[in-house]
């Protein structure tokens, strides 16, 4: 009797998990209904498509690079130190996650119309409707997330390791790169991959700040949007499939990093 109940419970829970899987799989498989037509192959080899793929890869990588450069030290600070305003800082990291990407992009547009924003554009780099705008928008979207994820990886490493390394003669920098960094490397790598994937798929903030100009600021998600807007279904599907392919690859990458060898 009790066994029956336990089986019921088990099958209900697993059933729910299988439903989610079928739901997403069906969605992806439905794309293939349109695969193979002449328009499909044309779209795949079209220079605009290739451009948007390349643009997405480059922009996401640069945005991730900057997010790590600033995010890793920030993550370390949040993980290890107590300082004034830490709670507020930590909360602020969530801002890009809770506000709509389009609002984030719009905020940038507003900023670049302030005297400071204009000064930066006139004396430095042009962001609005330019490639740096893509990178900036993606960076803004992922910097908080990357910091949070990296902080979680660093939190897993006991500060005791650094304490011992310090007592044995390491400076704080040495203790960081000889002990903490190698110990948290897999976690950090997974964080970076996830942040990159998020940048790669970013749409709202990018399109608002950098626009949707083919062969200039058109990333893959933007290209999907414009393809749909002009009823070019084949092109949209090509791009979606590629996006899904990259997405699955990154997820697989994260899985690989998760297979850590047992430390202790």
């Amino acid at each position: 009797m009790e066994d029956d109940e336990e089986m019921n419970f088990r099958y209900t829970m697993i059933g729910a998990a299988v439903c989610i899987f079928i739901f997403y799989l069906g969605l992806i498989l439905s794309l293939f209904y349109f695969v193979g037509g002449k328009g499909f192959w044309d779209a795949l080899s079209h220079p605009n498509t290739l451009f948007s793929i390349r643009m997405s890869l480059i922009a996401a990588t640069i945005a991730t690079f900057f997010a790590v450069i600033i995010g890793l030290p920030s993550a370390y600070a949040l993980s290890r130190f107590k300082f004034f305003g830490k709670e507020i800082l930590d909360t602020f990291l969530e801002i890009p996650m809770i506000i709509s990407p389009i609002a984030l992009g719009a905020a940038f547009l507003v900023f670049f119309n302030t005297p400071l924003g204009e000064l930066i554009q006139n004396k430095g780099i042009f962001f609005v409707f330019e490639v740096p705008g893509i990178i900036l928008a993606q960076f803004a979207t992922i910097a908080g997330l990357a910091t949070r994820l990296m902080k979680a990886s660093l939190d897993e490493i006991s500060p005791r390791y650094e304490a011992v390394a310090r007592s044995l003669g390491s400076s704080p920098w040495q203790a960081f790169y000889r002990v903490t960094l190698p110990l948290s490397f897999r976690g950090l790598l997974a964080s970076v991959i996830l942040a990159w994937a998020k940048a790669f798929g970013e749409f709202g903030a990018t399109v608002t700040l950098a626009g949707a100009m083919p062969r200039k600021t058109e990333t893959m998600p933007i290209a999907i949007f414009t393809a749909l807007a002009s009823a070019n279904i084949e092109k949209a599907i090509v791009l979606i499939l590629i996006l899904v392919g990259f997405g699955l690859l990154t997820l697989y990458g994260v899985r690989l990093t998760g297979k850590r060898y047992r430390y202790d």
Partner: protein, 364 residues
């Protein structure tokens, strides 16, 4: 010599006020305090990982409180050991020598001796995940000792080990210390650990130092009831000083109508007649007399009759619970197993106990 002077630490709920510790060159010193009394905090302050409010620290006559941890010449073995999991045993051991950029050649022999003493030569290529609890302890100790520290800090080195490994590591610590004479400060809450290894000790309760002294001074002659109780003392009695016998140089104390005699020479301060004090004797210092043998002179003054109430086998010794017939004063008595067998005791036996005068201790 290691000197810690006027250390104040305020951290979260911890409050450590005016901590003073002095450790002689080559001494194995214990900082004993209850769990959660902030002992690790003190170690971290000595190491330089935490900034105390005030306080000065000297290590081998060099004032270090403004130096970063890596320049203090201290090695630290935390409770969880923190062996670097991404490095093998050999790399762990050499970490300190490499980090300090020391000349490997001058340390090679020292490290080799340590490896021999610790008997871990077969483990050098292994990773910490594949070591047993005892092996990990050895490696952690070796890693700490390899760069020849001026001070070794041990945080609860014997906790969380099986009894046999514990005894093993205890011996090892003793041997290592007699071989290398590394000045050591060890924190623990376990007075039994401290007893077998300590030269000197500092008793630290509720953020304050209660007593400092040589091991036996502290164990046999605690300054207060608080210290005695922390050290696991069982036989503490409220007593009244009844008489000061000038002729025999003895104080006579009364507990529930029974008279105890203690030599006056053990106390520097003058003890007033009529004063209420706490009288204390360690369970190991109480003897059960064999009626077929004569009583030694040193025992004659404090002999009491009573009954065995209960007994427990503690694996390495026996505990006998005894109560005097007159005054009904309970005694906990610890007896080595071989003596216990010779005594042939059973519950309800009428026996006599004797207390060594020098082991009776009075706390005011």
């Amino acid at each position: 010599m290691i000197k810690i002077e006027g250390l104040h630490i305020l951290f979260d709920t911890f409050k450590i006020i005016d901590l003073n510790i002095q450790i002689e060159e080559g001494e194995f010193h214990f900082l004993l305090g209850p769990t959660g009394s902030g002992k690790t905090l003190i170690l971290e302050s000595i190491m330089g990982l935490r900034k105390p409010r005030t306080g000065r620290i000297w290590i081998a006559d060099r004032e270090v409180q403004s130096l970063p941890p890596e320049r203090r010449g201290i090695s630290y073995v935390p409770q969880d050991l923190a062996l670097f999991p991404h490095l093998n045993v050999k790399e762990n051991i050499l970490f300190g020598i490499k980090a300090r950029d020391l000349d490997m050649k001058t340390y090679e022999e020292h490290v080799y001796t340590l490896v021999e003493v610790m008997r871990i030569d077969h483990l050098l290529e292994r990773y910490p995940a594949h070591l047993s609890g005892g092996e990990k302890k050895r490696v952690a100790l070796l890693r700490a000792l390899a760069p020849k520290p001026k001070l070794l800090l041990l945080d609860e080195p014997l906790s969380g080990l099986d009894l046999s490994i514990k005894i093993d590591i205890q011996h090892l610590l003793k041997n290592l210390h007699s071989a290398f004479h590394t000045t050591t400060l060890c924190v623990t809450h376990d007075f039994e650990e401290a007893h077998s290894l300590a030269h000197g000790m500092t008793i630290f309760i509720d953020g304050k130092v209660e007593q400092v002294g040589k091991r036996d001074d502290v164990f046999l002659r605690p300054k207060s009831k608080k210290v005695a109780q922390f050290l696991g003392a069982k036989n503490i009695y409220r007593a009244k000083v009844l008489k000061n016998e000038e002729s025999s140089q003895r104080l006579i104390l009364g507990v529930n109508g029974l008279l105890f005699s203690i030599p006056i020479s053990s106390y520097q301060d003058k003890i007033e007649v009529g004063k209420e004090v706490d009288l204390f004797i360690r369970p190991e210092e109480v003897m059960i007399l064999r009626e077929d043998k004569p009583v030694k002179d040193s025992l004659k003054r404090n002999v009491f009759e009573g009954e065995v109430l209960d007994m427990t086998d503690k694996e390495r010794y026996h505990l006998v619970y005894f109560q005097t017939t007159e005054g009904r004063i309970p005694f906990e008595i610890s007896i080595p197993n071989y003596t216990f067998r010779n005594l042939n005791l059973s519950i309800g036996n009428k026996v006599r106990i004797a207390l060594r005068e020098e082991s009776l201790w009075m706390m005011s």
